[in-house]
């Protein structure tokens, strides 16, 4: 029998729960660690990014209104689906990062476990970080955590797929939505992860994944007025400075994860969730009427 011709897959963007090609019609051809082509990958444009932000903004309120329990269920479902496609991820990551299959397998497994870790946090971090505040006046006063809103994520090559999985699972669990630009050389694992998200009951627009050129899009991403926070995973100091400068436009919160902070203690921590939260304090008067004290 003649050799079978492989069916090659086209990797596209993930925006608003759909897989469109870039509106710009452009592509690039990244190479894996050993030099083989990873295919014709969408080179996302500014317009793709803007579309993704519109989707993320639209999805965010409803997503954060879901119960914490439900968000945890969906994260866990993501882990289940990733587990079932483990072999594919091991192969893709091996190609992208030049890892042996054993190393690639152990990395993918640890990332699946990381999603489970964050799935468990969705209905617990609130109790850890909120407080009832003993004010001196007759008020009931409490502070609780809310998602910051729409988050942009930029991942460097060094951080790659691990950064992507960690960022997504720590950011969305609290009710944020996000737009992530995958690192240039890990688009196939990134878009395959988007397929996993797509089949895990995650509402459209909560996670949007773009592939493309960081240097082309970074300034634009930092400047966007409808993004509340920006996570940069990587160590390009010049880029970080630029992101911080341009973000001042609308006072985005800038969060920086260095590739050097790659320990499990750092990447699996409720403090990674807290970085994408706002503290809201609520006051309400407490009635003071004589004679209404509880009787024992």
């Amino acid at each position: 029998m003649a050799n079978r011709i492989d069916v090659l897959k086209t990797y596209k963007l993930y925006i608003n729960g759909k897989f469109p090609r870039t509106e710009s019609g452009r592509y690039y051809q990244p190479k894996g660690a050993k030099g083989e082509s990873l295919g014709n990958i969408c080179l996302a444009s500014r317009k793709d990014f803007r579309n993704a932000v519109v989707a993320a903004r639209k999805a965010q309120q409803a997503w954060s209104s879901r119960s914490a329990f439900n968000r945890g269920q969906i994260l866990y479902r993501i882990a289940e689906h990733m587990e079932s496609r483990k072999a594919e991820f091991v192969e893709l990551l091996g190609k992208e990062e030049g890892l042996s299959s054993a190393k690639s397998k152990s990395k993918i497994e640890s990332l699946i476990d990381r999603i489970v870790y964050y799935a468990g946090w969705t209905d617990k971090f609130q109790q850890l970080f909120s407080s009832v505040n003993p004010v001196a006046s007759s008020h009931f006063n409490f502070s609780m955590l809310e998602p910051v809103g729409v988050v942009s994520v930029l991942c460097d090559e060094k951080v790659g797929f691990e950064g992507l999985v960690t960022a997504i699972s720590s950011i969305i669990g609290s009710g944020n939505s996000l737009v992530l630009l995958a690192s240039k050389n890990s688009p196939t694992s990134a878009i395959t992860f988007a397929e996993v998200l797509h089949h895990s009951d995650l509402p459209a627009g909560v996670v949007n994944i773009l592939s493309g050129d960081r240097d082309e899009l970074a300034t634009h991403i930092a400047k966007h007025m409808d993004v509340n926070a920006l996570l940069y995973c990587g160590d390009d100091e010049k880029l970080l400075k630029e992101l911080q400068t341009e973000s001042a436009n609308n006072l985005k919160r800038i969060i920086h994860w260095s590739a050097e902070d790659n320990s499990e203690e750092y990447l699996e921590s409720p403090y990674r969730i807290q970085e994408f939260l706002e503290t809201k304090t609520t006051w309400h008067p407490v009635e003071q009427i004589g004679g209404s004290a509880p009787a024992y």
């Binding site: 006046s137 502070s143 400068t245 001042a248 006072l251 203690e265 403090y271 503290t279 006051w283 309400h284």
Partner: protein, 491 residues
């Protein structure tokens, strides 16, 4: 059937007035000239320059204050840097005790602080006396107790001080803002270079004297005076590890750009344009009282002032009438008079800014009401003003006026008012008035703001975290959450 008229109407054009009740200034010690407080001593500025600080209620000078230049800021930062290892290495319990001492001394001198605060800034003495100064002392008390308990604040993580904190504070709550900044910084083991606002430096300098008296080690707190240029020197100083700023959003953005690419950590507490929302089921009289307090407290010089009022259409007439009546009972005048509700505008420049907005309202042809109160002949005063039926697109509804000017809008449905209230780049505070608990909680979770006052407004407490969403800044001050601003948290 005849329509029922109001049972009575209030008359304000009577001869009846309050007798004067001025607070005495006889026990107040203000020097003719203040130097910079660096390394535990008052030192002459290397700039050789001084500027005047005046009483905005009389336009008369109160004292001359040093203007710090680059060399002066260098000296202050060096002193703070030098003091840092010893201060952060001190047993935490001892560190806490120093802060307790400062708290106690503020209480002992509360009256003097209150009177000077009122003279230098123009706020009514009853507010300085009952709010600013007691809260400042309470803030030091609260954070003093944290100094030796930090390991409990951040579970499973190690908390370390940052180093030297550069702190720049505004003119609306001079001593209180100094307390908000200094107390947590010291409790966490940092040392401080603080710059009070140009128009209100006196209580910070009195605090410097008090700190000297407390025996706090030299260099742990340094206080340098000057204008925005001095502030910029602090922001840009390479030996500073942390910037804490309270002020305008415009300057906040400049600061974020200035510290980009450095390792400086920042907390920014910036402007606001808070929505105060009254539903038809609200206790109207309480709500009106809260609205008046929300916008006229401290002449409206409050970043979290309830400067946008949203009234449900069905109660528009009643609320407007009650607001107008209440406005006419406000006493505008001598800040030192204990009966005064609305004092002097902090500076001539600010008065001009506010007047500019009043002109905008006029040119937009808005229906308005201004208090008829007679204003003093000298000093910077502004009549409390209401503008009705303000458009969402009006600059009065969009921009922070920082004065006693309320923009009133109406709404019909809950969704509509949430949309309108959140349609602003700011997100510092919001208020909601309703008798229905579930509605209050719905609103408090939907409004994008760091502080929500439900059936109350403009309440502050050292245990209660304060700070903004969106362009109102980031980081929290107060409470357990306020500690994070002054610590490195390591897993």
């Amino acid at each position: 059937m005849s329509k029922k008229e109001n049972a009575f109407s209030l008359k304000f054009d009577t001869e009846w007035t309050y007798a004067e009740a001025p607070e005495s200034t006889s026990h107040i010690a203000i020097e003719k000239k203040y130097d910079l407080f660096i390394d535990g001593k008052f030192v002459k500025p290397k700039s050789g320059k001084y500027f005047e600080t005046i009483n905005p209620a009389t336009e008369k000078p109160l004292a001359k204050v040093a203007e710090a230049n680059q060399k002066d800021v260098d000296a202050a930062v060096n002193a703070a840097r030098k003091a840092f290892p010893k201060w952060s290495g001190l047993p935490a319990k001892e560190r806490g005790k120093y802060i307790f001492r400062i708290a106690r001394l503020i209480q002992e001198k509360a009256r003097e602080f209150a009177v000077i605060e009122t003279m230098d800034g123009g706020k009514p003495i009853k507010e300085a006396r009952d709010i600013d100064i007691p809260l400042a002392a309470a803030h030091f008390f609260y954070y003093a107790g944290w100094a030796d308990k930090l390991q409990y604040a951040f579970p499973n993580a190690k908390a370390e001080p940052l180093g030297v904190a550069g702190q720049i504070i505004p003119w609306n709550f001079p001593l209180l803002m100094a307390a908000w900044k200094i107390a947590p910084a010291l409790a966490c083991g940092n040392t401080v270079v603080l710059k009070p606002a140009e128009t209100t430096p006196l209580t910070a300098l009195k605090l410097a004297e008090l700190i000297q008296e407390s025996g706090l080690p030299n260099g742990v707190v340094n206080i340098v005076t000057g204008d925005g240029k001095t502030g910029a020197l602090i922001v840009e100083h390479p030996e500073i590890d942390k910037i804490a700023f309270t002020g305008s959003t415009e300057v906040g953005k400049i600061i974020q750009r200035a510290i980009a690419g450095t390792n400086k950590k920042a907390t920014l507490e910036l402007g606001g344009k808070a929505a105060n929302i009254i539903f038809e089921d609200a206790p109207i009289d309480q709500a009106v009282e809260g609205v008046i307090n929300g916008i006229f407290f401290n002449q409206g010089h409050v970043c979290c002032a309830g400067s946008r009022l949203f009234v449900q259409e069905s109660i528009q007439k009643e609320v407007e009438r009650k607001l107008v009546d209440r406005l006419e009972t406000l006493i505008v005048g001598d800040p030192l008079d204990k009966n005064t509700d609305v004092g002097a505008i902090n500076s001539k420049q600010q008065l001009e800014t506010i007047n500019g907005y009043l002109k905008i309202g006029e040119s937009e042809g808005l229906r308005s009401h201004q208090a008829k109160n007679k204003l003093p002949d000298s000093g910077y005063f502004c009549r409390p003003t209401l503008f009705f039926d303000v458009a969402q697109s009006s600059r009065l509804a969009k921009e922070e006026i920082f004065g006693p000017v309320l923009a009133i809008q109406t709404f019909r449905t809950v969704d509509e008012v949430i949309e309108k209230a959140n349609n602003t780049p700011y997100g510092l505070s919001a208020g909601v008035w309703t008798d229905k608990g579930s509605k209050a909680f719905n609103l408090s979770s939907q409004l994008k703001a760091g502080v929500i006052w439900a059936n109350t407004f403009n309440k502050f407490d050292p245990t209660s975290p304060f700070g903004g969403y969106k362009e109102s800044g980031f980081g929290r001050e107060g409470g357990l959450h306020g500690l994070a601003a002054y610590l490195k948290i390591k897993a």
